[in-house]
């Protein structure tokens, strides 16, 4: 398969970026999207040109490092998949593919397609944890947890913090990420204890870092590679409002 790639190139955070067009040829339909970019970079290095910078790590959809806005969609075409799980057979032979970095004021571009997602780490540091003794593994059955609650907690904990939710939201809102973290802990007895403090601290940090307000479009849920539901946003709203009213 042959493709024309329109890729955002930006020297560093302060430089002005622009699209550059590249051609890639003889790509196997079973090549992953990131492997296709590797092939492009290999060609660029052989030509003595600067390779395209993009984030990647595990390449099996669990680390949250890959990003990319491909043809208008976060993580490209395909439901519940990260960019590393997208294969070139998803595209038409001869297609022009536009590749952009995440666009959100809280995720500034560092270089080419790499953005700084440190804002999510700061939100986590504000309260996305439990302050309990963690130096030994507790007995799994010491605290009984209903199966439905454990399942819901695990569904929320599937969040890999890739940033697709804020990147795809027309309001640049990080609510799905914050909600997933708050919800995964709120459904478990260990996390329940600090539920009120956590919801208030994480929402306050999210607002302070300049993320937008959720208007319930559901675009985050549609583009989340882990299929996390906006029902967790409803729970975050409940947790936050109940905590504030009790203050």
């Amino acid at each position: 398969m042959n493709f024309t790639l329109k890729i955002w190139r930006q020297k560093d955070a302060k430089s002005k970026g622009a699209f550059e067009t590249y051609k890639v040829k003889d790509i196997s339909a079973d090549t992953s999207f990131l492997e296709m970019l590797d092939i492009l970079n290999n060609d660029l290095v052989h030509e003595g040109k600067e390779p395209v910078a993009f984030d990647h790590d595990c390449r099996e959809g669990i680390c949250g490092m890959c990003s990319l806005h491909i043809d208008g969609l976060a993580h490209g075409p395909g439901q519940a998949a990260t960019t590393c799980q997208i294969y070139m057979r998803k595209f038409q032979d001869g297609a022009t593919i536009t590749i952009e970095p995440w666009r959100s004021a809280a995720f500034p571009v560092i270089k080419d397609l790499v953005v700084n997602r440190g804002a999510y780490d700061q939100i986590l540091q504000a309260g996305g944890y439990v302050s309990v003794r963690t130096n030994s593994v507790p007995d799994a059955n010491a605290i009984p947890i209903a199966k439905a609650d454990a399942d819901e907690s695990m569904d929320a904990a599937a969040c890999i913090g890739c940033g697709a939710c804020a990147a795809t939201c027309k309001n640049g809102s990080a609510m799905l990420f914050v909600a997933a973290r708050v919800s995964s802990l709120a459904k478990l007895p260990q996390g329940r204890v600090e539920g009120a403090r956590r919801a208030k601290a994480m929402v306050a940090k999210m607002d302070e870092l300049g993320f937008g307000n959720c208007t319930n479009t559901g675009a985050c849920q549609a583009e989340c590679p882990k299929g996390i539901s906006i029902a967790h946003i409803a729970r975050l709203n409940r947790e936050f409002l109940a905590a504030k009213i009790q203050d």
Partner: protein
């Protein structure tokens, strides 16, 4: 001001949710009241008399005006915040995400259309009814006839005899339909009263409420237009 209703994103959305809920309840009351005009001019005018420049009607009007101002002011505030959060550099290519409604992404535009329609509506009716009574009058000149401030039925008859008013009001109601089709379920989500089981139900209820409101208001407009312009059994 150190209040979560003003300085937190979730608190600001709660204000939108509660004020929106109150406005929806008023709209349902207004629509029900209008339906009376189709069946009996006398019944409708009796309601108009009750809602003249009485103290309770004035308190209600002031409350409604405050709700509209709060809902609209917060909408502008949230939109400015969201515009900034999106950043200066926008995507060159965008695509429609599956399952995301057009209305949910255009609530401000729809809201502006609703407010413009509201101003037109106030000039057609409120300015000729309650405002006249507040200013101490009892009737006002509408077209080439004097209409009493309590004769709402005559005002409806006059206003919707004009085809251009019918078109403007139907466009207004259509914008309101889209606004409510997202707003009604969204207010439950913002207040935290939603989950995966209830989303289909809430969205269904939102569509039913929006459609009933559209049909209820549109019926009055269309019936009075036909009464004024058609030589048929309705005349």
């Amino acid at each position: 001001m150190n209040c979560f209703l003003y300085n937190s994103s979730v608190g600001k959305k709660l204000v939108m949710s509660i004020s929106g809920c109150a406005l929806v309840l008023f709209i349902i009351f207004h629509m029900s009241m209008n339906i009376a005009a189709i069946f009996s001019a006398e019944a409708y005018n009796t309601i108009c008399e009750l809602l003249g420049a009485n103290w309770y009607a004035l308190v209600g009007t002031a409350g409604l005006a405050a709700l509209v101002v709060v809902h609209f002011a917060y909408a502008l505030l949230l939109t400015v915040n969201n515009y900034r959060a999106r950043g200066k550099q926008r995507y060159a290519v965008t695509a429609k995400e599956p399952g995301v409604s057009w209305a949910s992404k255009n609530m401000l535009v729809l809201g502006v259309i609703v407010v413009v329609g509201l101003l037109l509506h106030l000039s057609h009716f409120w300015a000729k009814m309650q405002l006249v009574e507040i200013l101490g009058g009892h009737e006002s000149l509408v077209g080439d006839q004097m209409i009493a401030a309590t004769d709402g039925a005559a005002l409806i008859q006059y206003t919707f005899s004009k085809w251009y008013n019918v078109v403007l009001y139907l466009v207004w109601f259509a914008a309101l339909w889209f606004h409510l089709s997202h707003g009604v379920w969204s207010m439950f989500q913002t207040a935290g009263w939603a989950n995966d089981t209830w989303y289909p139900r809430l969205k269904c209820v939102a569509n039913i409420v929006a459609t009933l409101i559209f049909l209820g208001f549109a019926a009055v407009v269309v019936v009075f237009f036909l009464k004024a312009n058609c030589c048929c059994a309705l005349c």
